[in-house]
């Protein structure tokens, strides 16, 4: 039972770096680098006390045609009851290509992500300490999306395959988004349909959830006024979810029972942006009948050149 404690929620944020063909013009490539951190504390948990993640992401985009991202982060989860703290490395490579079909005005993007997770709970038998069937994985996620030319309508369909020791989780994520209030507001709805779960840890073999994000954009010349605020609410249940917006893989065995977040984005200058996010995720350690929460804050500073 205690071994399920070693599962981790992994946060991976974009990173990118690249070397590609000769350029027609120096401005053809644009780059960003985003150092970031997430800090959190667990409440009511029988197993965990703190969450800390430090990472960096780098992206490179070629004109409007596509791009690549790479990222690395290290996650440390403080355990209670004398258990070994969980120390996990998270790697991610992502590539996307954009298409502009005349028959479907707008931009169609095909994306492929690869997430590699590796932590210190790698004993392979439940009889041993520090056993965790989800301590290593190579998660592949793909997505096809469409955004209309006026950037007022968006749809995507995502699929993720997460192989863990002894079982494989599959996830489908249909998404729809639209602008309103003269495009000062944006609403996005994403369904999470996850199957292939282990009933012993999740209490079920499949879960469904709906993630809703509302974003309001501000117009201000002041760098101190946020350029946007985003409120997110997730209803339903998720387990081993892959979030392709945040580029996160959750290899936490415990059942996610929803989350509330609020994020603020500042355009500090033409080349520098600050994004901060705060929120609470709710989980259930099914076997231990323990409902607990993770209260967290994220900050990422993006520099573009």
């Amino acid at each position: 039972m205690k071994h399920s404690r070693s599962c981790i929620k992994t946060l991976l944020f974009g990173l990118g770096f690249i070397a590609l063909p000769t350029l027609a013009h120096a401005d053809a490539w644009s780059f960003t680098a985003t150092p970031n951190t997430t800090q959190g504390t667990y409440s009511s948990s029988q197993q965990r006390s703190t969450f800390a993640d430090y990472g960096i992401g780098i992206s490179a985009d070629y004109l409007d045609q596509g791009g690549i991202q790479v990222s690395y982060s290290n996650t440390l989860i403080g355990e209670t009851s004398g258990l070994t703290n969980i120390n996990q490395n998270n790697y991610m490579v992502s590539g996307h290509l954009n298409f502009h079909p005349d028959a479907l005005p707008g931009q169609v993007t095909v994306r492929l992500d690869d997430y590699v997770i590796d932590n210190n709970y790698q004993n392979t038998s439940i009889q041993q300490p520090n056993y965790d069937p989800t301590s290593r994985s190579n998660v592949v996620a793909t997505q096809i999306s469409w955004l209309n030319n006026d950037k007022t309508l968006y749809a995507d369909l995502g699929y993720a395959n997460s192989p863990y020791q002894g079982f494989t989780v599959q996830q489908y994520t249909p998404t729809f988004g639209f602008a309103f209030d003269q495009a000062y507001d944006w609403l996005q709805l994403r369904g999470y349909m996850i199957s292939g779960l282990q009933a012993s840890t999740a209490g079920k073999t499949s879960t469904n959830a709906l993630e809703t994000k509302w974003t309001h954009f501000f117009v201000s010349q002041s760098a101190w006024v946020p350029s946007s605020v985003t409120v997110g609410i997730t209803l339903g249940e998720q387990d081993y979810a892959v979030n392709m917006d945040a580029q996160q893989v959750a290899n936490l065995a415990d059942l996610s029972q929803g989350a509330d977040t609020i994020g603020l984005n500042w355009n500090l200058s033409k080349s520098t942006k600050l994004f901060v996010l705060g929120g609470q995720s709710r989980f259930r350690y099914v076997a231990g009948a323990n409902d607990y929460q993770l209260n967290f804050g994220y900050a990422g500073l993006t520099y573009a050149w």
Partner: protein
């Protein structure tokens, strides 16, 4: 009855003469007439008989690119403009033209890059500067837009459009007094400009 027969004969004669005239007209003339009538696909088809390796081949490519653009076939338009650039790497026409389908597809970075390349060939070219400014506005690159629009107003000081873009850039940058000055310059050159009037009335 006699009048009707005469009218019918005249009508038939007129139709025949029109047909003969069309058959005699050059593919170019036909294409221009069809474009003017809004029949862009037909205007493009009218160019089919022009050889791809003849003396008019480059112009055929440029005109095809334009007609594809007009009918909303933006990818074909881009392809033809690229062919025109391959055929004649000095072609400013092609380098400026390709910006239009990029605009239509909202590919602002590619539009900006194409405008910059055109300006490398012909610094201070009006269309190049204007399209660069438009792309920068779409990318919310207010500093870059201010710089391009300032160049436009310096090189083309009689142009009201140049001052409109300069005013917009200043307004987005929060320089209200400079935006007002630029909008005032617009009204000197084009007294009925609604955008300038609206801004100045709200920012007295």
């Amino acid at each position: 009855m006699k009048h009707l027969s005469l009218l019918a004969a005249l009508t038939v004669a007129l139709m025949l003469s029109t047909t003969v005239a069309r058959a005699d007209a050059s593919p170019w003339a036909n294409s221009y007439q069809l474009e003017a009538a809004g029949k862009y696909a037909d205007a493009l088809a009218a160019l089919d008989s022009i050889p791809l390796n003849g003396p008019d081949a480059e112009f055929k490519t440029l005109r095809s690119a334009w007609l594809y653009y007009l009918q909303g076939s933006y990818n074909e338009s881009i392809r033809e403009y690229r062919l025109a650039i391959e055929r004649n790497s000095q072609s400013l026409d092609a380098r400026l033209g390709i910006i239009l389908p990029y605009f239509a597809q909202k590919r602002w970075r590619e539009a900006e890059q194409s405008a910059r390349t055109a300006l490398d060939f012909s610094p201070n070219n009006y269309i190049g500067l204007l399209r660069l400014t438009i792309a920068q506005e779409a990318e919310h690159d207010w500093k870059g837009m201010e710089k391009s629009a300032t160049t436009l107003t310096t090189v083309y000081p009689s142009d009201a459009t140049a001052y409109v873009y300069l005013a917009r850039a200043q307004a987005w940058l929060g320089n209200s007094s400079q935006a007002a000055a630029a909008y005032s310059a617009v009204l000197v050159r084009y007294p009925s400009d609604l955008e300038a009037k609206t801004y100045l009335s709200k920012n007295k």
